[in-house]
Subunit: 231 residues, 2 copies
Amino acid sequence: MTSLDSSPEAVRGDSGTAAKQIPPAAVARLTLYLRALTTMLAEGVDRVSSESLAEASGVSSATLRKDLSHVGSYGTRGVGYEVQYLSRHISAALGLTKDWKVAIVGAGNLGKALARYGGFESRGFDVVAIFDADQMIVGNEVGWLRVSDAADMEAVLQRTGANMVVLALPAAVAQSVCDRVVAAGVRSILSFAPVMLQVPPGVNLRKVDMATELQILAYHAQRTQAPEELE
Amino acid sequence: MTSLDSSPEAVRGDSGTAAKQIPPAAVARLTLYLRALTTMLAEGVDRVSSESLAEASGVSSATLRKDLSHVGSYGTRGVGYEVQYLSRHISAALGLTKDWKVAIVGAGNLGKALARYGGFESRGFDVVAIFDADQMIVGNEVGWLRVSDAADMEAVLQRTGANMVVLALPAAVAQSVCDRVVAAGVRSILSFAPVMLQVPPGVNLRKVDMATELQILAYHAQRTQAPEELE
DNA sequence: CGTTGTGAAATTCTTCACAGCG
DNA sequence: CGCTGTGAAGAATTTCACAACG
């Protein structure tokens, strides 16, 4: 992987560590390729061209090849990519070789749904704990886990070695729980709470807001199919 | 203002309605502003500057003002924005004044969580039906709804006037259900199924994949805290 | 005055097109 | 010959900086 690639500038690498950074948009798509490759692997496909992998992932082949170029050169010209080989390299680039242990905070409907969601385990994320503050819920079984008391969060996070946390709780308490989680040393947080959370630098926070998704859909729907709407 | 009008993909062939299109990235952020404004409204705040609304939304003030410029000029120079007034205009621009009726397909853990999720109702989306194919589940109560038989989907969608559908079902059946939903006339779909769905042009599809979010988080986590640190 | 709204510059992302290689 | 990998071109988006204005 030659890459006459020089980082533009302002790369926050203090020095030395020239680990090539992958553009955010490309990272998001790499997960799609990985999913498609996993499906192919299960179907016994062992080679794939950029054209067909792109189609299976819903992107253009040019975009796909450009994205893969950030990861490395794992294809064979004139042939394509070996499914398993490529799959492994994308996983490595995404940091999925590490053992990710996820704790879910909030055992309401969403928290329970997430805890039982097979998609996590099957993609290398191990759900190790689920918390709730409601004493009526603490102790209940959710999947193969038992709901822990949110009061013991720090201790349980430590004991289970959780290194990612999913927040599935009401907006009102999200920030304070988030603060505790950060204080406990967790540096990767996925929040489903519909609020802007403040986290210190060095902590990775991603947000998913389901109502937001519907609103975006509403915008497009209104544009493409509203015959009567003028202003 | 200008007519920098290049359509990314299949835009309807009509030419009469030249409603100004808002960049996708801006649309996504407008929903954040709306959320922040709603919170402020509830707190009794009635004026806000671009600077503070930007902070409450987690973006730069320059980005915020640029985004609002796509919607219109609703601020007062030297003063700021009136919370309610701006809120109303963003809602209108996003198409949220229309009555959106949402049907959820799949009454598993996720489907139930979504059906009971207060965030939809509170932001103008009315959940009007929930379906499942499992006869053990059909008829159960979920929130204030009763699970309908997926076999009757077309009829129920018609009767309830659903104009948006949320797919909360296994990857394996997602495409075929999606096809039925499209055939029934629904043109806006939010899918939680971890597969690439094919929809005809004119149908709006958005996807949320929770495992994908964790993978993206993993990438960043690995970059920012893995180098050669021992702990 | 202080803050909005916006051209223009800077940056990032996507697409093109083709050289390079198996 | 066919397909990958990649510079270069082209779009889109974000940031800057300041004129306009209540």
